[in-house]
């Protein structure tokens, strides 16, 4: 009994538990979305986990559409979706919309945000925006080796505390940190680890009042919508695609049915 427990806590055991399933995604227990700024190594992480060899390159904007794959970990099957790299989720270019719609409507069980350690500040903008949409986030602090080479030091524990989500230092090209990443993805998906993501502070009282008011109405019309606050903010901003989704009631359809990959790509 004791030995077993020790085994489970050992990273070697965990990585041994990883079964790369490639594109075999017939049945899965959890969906993982892989988001991040362009050229932070999302595809490399994707390849490490699935055993697929999606072409990677030192080259922003390489993944235009989504790639999907699967892996098995601790006898749970995960479908993983490699989203195109985006700087934000607020503007309206096609690739940003693909990423945003998936995180918003595809309802992944975990969203892994891959960030570039050498450019943490700018990458955090996206993390904070993702944190507005979903609670289940794991931050993969990638390219940590490059940061070290450039004399940049990051306090991983503090970052995790500040963000309220697990943060894992990784060097995906060298396959470092993948075992820990898997462990936290598993725990967040399972509900063992409950994230309390950082929320952007809004200074204006007027705004918070408006948001609360609108949020209530949205929740009445779309019961069970997990990110009503985010939808309220977009409505207040006058985001046309979200206004359209509310007007047509599409928001509701998206809530109940799982969207197939093809539909999303063509959105």
């Amino acid at each position: 009994m004791k030995i077993n427990q020790d085994c489970e806590n050992c990273p070697v055991h965990n990585i041994g538990n990883l079964k790369k399933l490639g594109i075999n995604m017939e049945q899965y227990d959890f969906v993982v979305a892989l988001a991040g700024n362009p050229n932070t190594g999302k595809s490399t992480v994707f390849n490490n986990l699935t055993g697929l060899r999606q072409h990677t390159g030192n080259w922003p904007g390489k993944t235009v559409t989504r790639a999907e794959g699967a892996f098995e970990y601790n006898s749970k099957k995960f479908k993983i979706v490699d989203l195109p790299g985006t700087y934000s989720l607020l503007s309206t270019s096609t690739d940003e919309e693909v990423a945003r719609n998936f995180i918003l409507f595809g309802q992944p069980d975990v969203t892994v945000v891959v960030v570039d350690s050498t450019r943490l500040e700018r990458n955090l903008n996206l993390v904070l925006q993702v944190a507005e949409i979903t609670n289940r986030i794991v931050v993969c602090l990638n390219l940590i080796d490059e940061a070290e080479r450039h004399n940049i030091e990051i306090d991983v524990r503090s970052l995790s505390r500040e963000l309220g989500v697990p943060v894992i230092a990784a060097a995906a090209r060298q396959k470092e940190g993948m075992d820990e990443l898997l462990k936290f993805v598993y725990e967040v998906a399972n509900g063992e680890y409950v994230c309390k993501p950082y929320r952007i502070s809004d200074d204006s009282k007027l705004l918070s009042k408006a948001v609360v008011k609108l949020q209530k109405e949205i929740e009445e019309s779309f019961p069970g919508l997990p990110n009503s606050r985010w939808v309220a903010l977009r409505l207040l901003e006058g985001d046309q695609s979200i206004i359209e989704a509310v007007r047509s009631g599409e928001l509701k359809n998206l809530l109940n049915t799982e969207i197939s990959s093809k539909e999303l790509v063509n959105v």
């Binding site: 030192n58 922003p60 904007g61 940049i152 306090d155 503090s158 952007i200 109405e217 019309s221």
Partner: protein, 472 residues
């Protein structure tokens, strides 16, 4: 009733928005930036600010410099081609002697021993097998050298710098700066480059990028360019200069392609696709030391084997077609010869010949098999003595020199070589690319434009070159 409810939410939001003012989006963005910066400052420490990216910056100052950027790019390309040309010759001839000279007669004898009808032996062995063998021996060595080199450059972070250098030019001609990226991807595969144009948001600029992507020489056309340059351009200068001059010729064609893509983009943006160029930001990734083994593995498996496999798949039916058209006779003359004799007078106006035209028609599915098709057709129809036997397929070819001698005896000249290189740059995209264009544009009109515009240009350019050539 439900709809009313939804409309109510929107009306409510609109009312609230009036109170909040229009700067909400900006102020939200601002608070995101502020918070991100606050968190980052808490957790990041930079030990020695002055050392940070010093090396990267120095290198970028040269690579993306206004004066050295473009010449350096041409030099880099030339070096890659030179290594490819010098390195591919020996393995190519080894493969040819193995697959074409040794296995082919063996297989053929086997079929004869089993008394399989001549017709079937012809279609399978002299057609399908031989075409596949040709494709492998002509294409595998240059690809196995070229792709890893190209992938190393990509891994290192050079390609986005190319885009950075080209961006200004594309903007000047009224196209999107990101077209420089999709153009660079087209150097690998046009179909991939066309899918990549999705990064361009404006439909107008995206169409320009799609139509002009074919001017990037692709995987399938590099070997054609390299082989023809080696034979005709390299053959026209002293031996010690041959490698460098033929590499220069290939770079020239590639640069000509870029020039055409700029020219056509300019033409389109001034006429049917008028509009302003939109701006975008391109982040230059840091230089990363490429991982040698991984690069070798991925470029060999993902690119080389993938492209080669596609070529073989297309070569087998093409080989059958080639055998059939050269062996089915009407009035004692084969279909191929009928075609070639009839087309020759016109083709000669453009400095090409009937064989090349027929080869391009047969090779529409894949550019990769143009050279093997030309060689097989030349041998089968020219009835080259000493190399032909029976139906004209049993010949030896174990080096570039022998390829050259086949072509020379087929009546080829330096002019034919130059025009073939030009025509290989300027002709219709392969069927995969055409299909991709249709899928991406959903428009038959733009698909047809993308298909025929390069052919018209190709015919014009080769005609012009030929007429000027003949003046002197």
């Amino acid at each position: 009733m439900k709809n009313n409810q939804f409309d109510k939410i929107i009306a409510e939001a609109n009312n609230l928005r009036i109170d909040l003012g229009n700067e909400l989006h900006d102020s939200l963005m601002e608070s995101i930036y502020k918070d991100a910066s606050k968190i980052a400052s808490k957790v990041v420490t930079v030990k020695d600010e002055s050392k940070k990216y010093k090396w990267d910056q120095k290198l970028d100052r040269i690579i993306t410099s206004r004066w050295f950027g473009l010449p350096l790019m041409f030099l880099m390309l030339a070096a890659v081609f030179w290594i490819t040309i010098e390195g591919a010759n020996v393995p190519s001839s080894m493969l040819a002697s193995l697959l074409v000279d040794t296995f082919h007669p063996m297989l053929k004898n086997l079929f004869i021993d089993w008394s399989i009808p001549n017709f079937i032996t012809g279609v399978l062995i002299d057609g399908a097998y031989l075409a596949a063998a040709w494709v492998i021996s002509v294409m595998l060595p240059p690809m196995a050298i070229f792709f890893p080199l190209f992938t190393l450059l990509e891994d290192f972070g050079y390609l986005p710098r190319v885009a950075f250098n080209m961006d200004g030019l594309y903007k000047k001609v009224g196209a999107h700066g990101k077209q420089a990226l999709t153009m660079a991807m087209g150097f690998g595969c046009n179909a991939a480059g066309i899918v990549a144009t999705r990064v361009i948001d404006s439909p107008r600029e995206r169409l320009i990028a799609i139509i002009t992507n074919n001017f990037s020489l692709c995987n399938g056309r590099w070997p054609t360019q390299i082989l023809i340059a080696t034979i005709f351009i390299g053959g026209a200068v002293p031996a010690y200069l041959a490698g460098i001059v033929s590499a220069g010729a290939v770079v020239f064609i590639a640069v000509l392609g870029i020039a055409f893509s700029l020219l056509v983009s300019w033409g389109l943006s001034k006429t049917v696709l008028r509009g302003e160029a939109s701006t975008f930001s391109l982040e230059l990734p840091p230089y990363r030391p490429p991982r040698l083994l991984q690069t070798l593995y991925t470029s060999l498996i993902d690119r080389t084997i993938f492209v080669l496999w596609r070529a073989i798949v297309f070569a087998i039916p093409a080989g059958i077609v080639i055998w059939l058209v050269s062996n089915i006779n009407i009035n004692n003359i084969s279909i191929a010869e009928h075609f070639i004799t009839n087309v020759n007078p016109y083709a000669l106006l453009f400095g090409l010949n009937g064989v090349i035209i027929l080869a391009y028609i047969i090779a529409i599915p894949a550019n990769e098999i143009v050279i093997p098709t030309i060689l097989m057709l030349t041998v089968m129809t020219a009835k080259i003595t000493g190399m032909g036997e029976g139906s004209g397929v049993m010949f030896e070819l174990d080096s570039v020199e022998q390829t050259a001698s086949i072509l020379y005896s087929g009546g080829w000249t330096l002019l034919t070589g130059i025009n073939l290189m030009l025509f290989s740059l300027l002709h219709n995209p392969c069927s995969t690319t055409i299909f991709t264009i249709y899928k991406e544009t959903k428009s038959i009109k733009w698909t047809l434009v993308s298909t025929f515009l390069p052919i018209v240009l190709g015919i014009g350019v080769t005609f012009f070159v030929t007429q000027v050539w003949r003046l002197f």
